[in-house]
């Protein structure tokens, strides 16, 4: 049994369905019929109904994520934890989060880049279901090297939400981008539209999947699984509405950047310690 469908997520489609009914209602009202009166007086189009999560009010939070690439040691516990926590397909082609390795050898202008799913690294770990970076640079003249954890940026202007034809992909009030797996038709337009390669397709369920910042955990006051397991605090998560939260402090005390700012997506994952080659 897959974990994906067990997650208790607010259903975007309900909000959309109501808006659709409302549109129909307005049309009908214009025609002078009684229909509009019998329809539920839905909230304004922007104002989606508040999901019923006990003890949680999504109007009170604004989540964000930080990555300190200077700290990451490439241990890949985050990738392991994410796959386990979220039931992500266990192979080298489906990840909600992954880690990239950037290596500059002496005299090189460009970095050599790979991730845990590169064949050499799979050979080192022994299987597609375990994660390890191999030692290929052990004897190489390395000038500069660093790791960059990647995940969905939960963009302020998410291209994936813009292109979703059904509204199955949607943005929550607290700044998280989610997918309603019971409503997704599996067209993968959103997979095309995400500039960051953050989306993957679950072939068993025929739906698209991606990082949710562990919405089922953060709405209970817990940290996302990857943040929880990171041994060096390279991953930071918190509420921007709270100036004392780890993420607010992270953004305040560092010169942060985001990935591919030219796309206009306005990511909410903030990076420290990446260089020009990282995109």
């Amino acid at each position: 049994m897959d974990r994906l469908d067990k997650e208790k997520m607010p259903k975007a489609a309900n909000a959309l369905r109501r808006n659709f009914l409302r549109t129909v209602g307005i049309g009908a009202a214009c025609a002078g019929t009684w229909v509009s009166k019998t329809l539920p007086a839905a909230s304004s189009p922007q104002e989606a109904p508040i999901p019923n999560i006990p003890g949680y009010d999504w109007r009170k939070h604004k989540w964000a994520f930080g990555v300190d690439a200077t700290r990451c040691i490439g241990c890949l516990r985050c990738v392991e934890a994410c796959k386990a926590e979220n039931g992500v397909t266990r192979d080298a082609h489906h990840f909600r989060t992954w880690v990239e390795r950037y290596v500059y050898l002496k005299g090189d202008d460009h970095a050599h880049v790979d991730s845990q799913s590169e064949p050499g690294n799979i050979a080192a770990s022994g299987s597609e279901q375990a994660f390890r970076f191999d030692n290929r640079y052990q004897d190489a003249p390395v000038e500069k090297a660093f790791f960059v954890p990647k995940l969905c940026n939960h963009c302020t202007h998410p291209a994936c939400v813009q292109v979703c034809p059904t509204g199955a992909t949607y943005q929550t009030r607290d700044g998280v981008v989610l997918i309603d797996h019971s409503y997704c038709i599996g067209c993968q337009y959103c997979v095309q539209a995400c500039p960051y390669g953050a989306r993957e397709f679950n072939h068993t369920m025929g739906v698209t999947d991606k990082c949710t910042w562990c919405y089922h955990r953060i709405t209970k006051g817990l940290q996302p699984a990857c943040v929880e397991v990171c041994p060096v605090e390279a991953r930071v998560f918190g509420d921007r509405n709270d100036p004392e939260s780890p993420i607010s402090q992270f953004i305040k005390n560092n010169r942060v950047s985001v990935l591919k700012p030219h796309t206009g997506n306005a990511p909410n994952v903030f990076y420290v310690g990446i260089d020009k080659e990282v995109s």
Binding site: D91, T166, I185, Q192, Y196, G206
Partner: protein, 394 residues
């Protein structure tokens, strides 16, 4: 859940791990291809119905039937591709209007209705005649199709003609919209460097028209052979000139677009060059080779005022080459765009599967369907001008 992807794409350089599972298969190559054939065939019928270009009279009604036969199958590749096809109606019931894709069912539905209406007006006189001539089940079907309107007086036929013309006039922007829209589906994806171009809609539209004319030429020649009637030289020469003009414009725009891309040399251009030299090499050769070859051949046919068998043979070759060239172009765009990694640091290589619901066999099956349907429709409603020496209203 443990999974190993059977058809994961091999790659060079660095690509995001999730990119190795290519989202849009060869099914999405034939989706814009089939739509394009519709647009092209329709434009030819409009040249007669709207612009009164009489040389197209012999193929005008056949073009309409061709357009509708292919239009019926436009949604098929999309449905085959969905992970949850049984939910396809979600996009109709709760369309999320910021998505270009959400309008698909409405755009396509509108266009099918328009085509059916126009066909009805163009064929009503025939339907009435057939409903009187045939008896039994066939007669009853024709009577049903006439929708109870059996007045074939000259005044009434004139009204039919006016309606058909009006619908054809609406049909031109609709056909343009339908295919420009398909171009927008790709051109608006800013994450894909190879797609994200303002010229995409217009390139898609123009190449659609040339492929549709190509299809029409091939079908018209084949049908003429089968009916043992010589293909109209006037019609073929008209098609040659139309094809020549549209092809010239599409080649110019595509050429200029490439020129600008290589002249500006924005970030990532090296990878684009490697894409063209690598995974889509053969596609590019086919696309450009066929297009330039056809342009040359058509120029010769037109300048030499070719006639008879030379014209028929030359146009058949042009038609087939045009259809191949445009299918290659669709491949280069749809597949090429996904082979170019979003990292700008790597390339993927897509190999289509043979079997399976996204495989080449499925594609061949889907592409065969409209030909079968067209054959059935033409058996039922003959689009040809002269049947047994009797003039049939256009």
């Amino acid at each position: 859940m443990i999974g190993t992807l059977a058809n994961a794409a091999p790659y060079v350089g660095y690509v995001y791990p999730n990119e190795t599972d290519i989202p849009w298969s060869v099914l999405i190559v034939i989706y814009p291809y089939i739509t394009g054939l519709v647009a092209g065939a329709f434009i030819v019928s409009s040249l007669y119905h709207v612009f009164g270009m009489n040389q197209f009279k012999p193929v005008a009604r056949f073009a309409l039937l061709t357009a509708v036969s292919f239009m019926f199958f436009v949604p098929m590749p999309l449905l085959f591709h969905l992970g949850n096809p049984q939910r396809a109606f979600n996009a109709v019931l709760t369309p999320h209007w910021t998505s270009a894709m959400s309008a698909f069912s409405y755009v396509a539905g509108f266009y099918v209705c328009l085509l059916l209406l126009e066909i009805w007006f163009a064929f009503r006189a025939d339907i009435v005649a057939l409903s009187k001539a045939k008896s039994g089940l066939q007669g009853r079907i024709y009577r049903l199709l006439s929708l109870g309107s059996d007045d074939v007086s000259p005044a009434s036929l004139a009204i039919d003609h006016r309606f058909a013309t009006a619908l054809a006039i609406i049909g031109i922007p609709a056909a343009g919209g339908l295919h420009g829209y398909v171009g927008f589906l790709f051109g608006s994806v800013k994450a894909r460097e190879w797609w994200s171009s303002d010229l995409m809609p217009i390139i898609f539209l123009l190449s659609a028209i040339v492929s549709g004319i190509g299809l029409l030429v091939v079908l018209y020649v084949a049908y003429s052979k089968k009916r043992k009637v010589p293909a109209s030289e006037q019609a073929l020469m008209g098609l040659a000139k139309t094809l020549w003009a549209f092809l010239l414009v599409v080649l110019l725009i595509e050429g200029l677009e490439l020129l600008e891309m290589f002249y500006k040399r924005l970030e990532g251009i090296d990878t684009v060059e490697r894409l063209i030299e690598g995974p889509i090499r053969y596609g590019m050769v086919l696309q450009w080779g066929c297009s330039i070859g056809v342009l040359g051949l058509l120029t010769v046919l037109i300048v030499s005022k070719a006639r008879g068998r030379t014209l028929v043979a030359g146009m058949t070759v042009s038609g087939i080459a045009m259809m191949i060239g445009v299918v290659a172009m669709r491949w280069n765009v749809v597949i090429g765009g996904q082979e170019l990694s979003k990292t700008s640091k790597g390339l993927l290589i897509y190999y289509p599967e043979i079997l399976g619901h996204e495989g080449l066999l499925a594609v061949a099956f889907i592409f065969l369907c409209p030909f079968v349907v067209l054959w059935l429709i033409t058996r039922f409603l003959s689009p040809w001008e002269v049947e047994a020496g009797k003039e049939v209203s256009p």
